[in-house]
Amino acid sequence: MHRLDLLLIVALVAAALWTVMTARLLRAVVALAVTSVLITALMFQLRSPIAGVFELSVCAGLIPAILITTISLTQRLDAEQLIARKKEKLRQYWPLPVLVIAAAILLSRVNVPLDFPAILPAPEKEEDVRTSLWALRHIDLLGQVVILLAGAFAVVVLVREKHRKSD
């Protein structure tokens, strides 16, 4: 159990590093999806399956699809540009793995006090996420709908502006 958790965390950080360090944008998006899949596995370990399924379907499915569509609308790099990009990436990002490893070593040596008092007391019976959403956080649902509508409205406005200019 402990080994699996450790393995998941190591794989998660490695996937995040791959995401930011790879020279090709498409590979970065695929690595981002892999990061989401690993976070989903961690969420299942943390007994949060519904949030995990949301993460898997939205962050590993929908968002990479949106990003890949965006990348497909831009121009390809030729071979020379790609080599220059790889060199630039190496120059920019070589300190990052060192920093991450140093931070991991430092964090593993810190003794975190775990006897802190919780702000909210734990419920007597474990609450279902549906009960939490519908009974306690129903205003959040309204907020989610408003945010999605605002996002859709913003996209429509931005795209319509472009059409008007191209006419």
Binding site: A16, L46, T74, V129, L133, L136, I147
Partner: protein, 106 residues
């Protein structure tokens, strides 16, 4: 807090800190707009993991999941709007480099 719960919570806490380092480093060094959105995604993943791990450690799993779902929905809206802005910038400047934004009017 029992020993297995504390162990998993600490591991997740370490993962959150490392993801935040990766995300902030990428956000500060990159000049590509799509990569900036990807760095933001990594930061929001760290936040989601922190929420769920905190809920697991304090016994508030239902509430943590509700907050995580809200965060994921907001994340989608942010990405969609960011992508629309990136496409508009790309049509204006023919580049994804953030430095070209300085040349725009306004």
């Amino acid at each position: 807090m029992s020993e297995p719960v504390a162990h998993l919570f600490l591991l997740c806490g370490m993962g959150v800190v490392l993801l935040l380092i990766v995300g902030f480093y990428s956000l500060l060094t990159t000049r590509n707009l799509v990569r900036m959105v990807i760095a933001l995604e990594i930061l929001s993943k760290a936040t989601t993991l922190a929420l769920v791990a905190s809920g697991y450690a304090t016994g508030q799993i239902g509430l943590a999941q509700a907050l995580a779902i809200t965060l994921i929905v907001i994340e989608v809206a942010v990405v969609v709007v960011a992508v629309a802005i990136i496409l508009c910038v790309y049509r204006h400047t023919d580049s994804l480099d953030v430095a070209h934004l300085r040349e725009l009017k306004g």
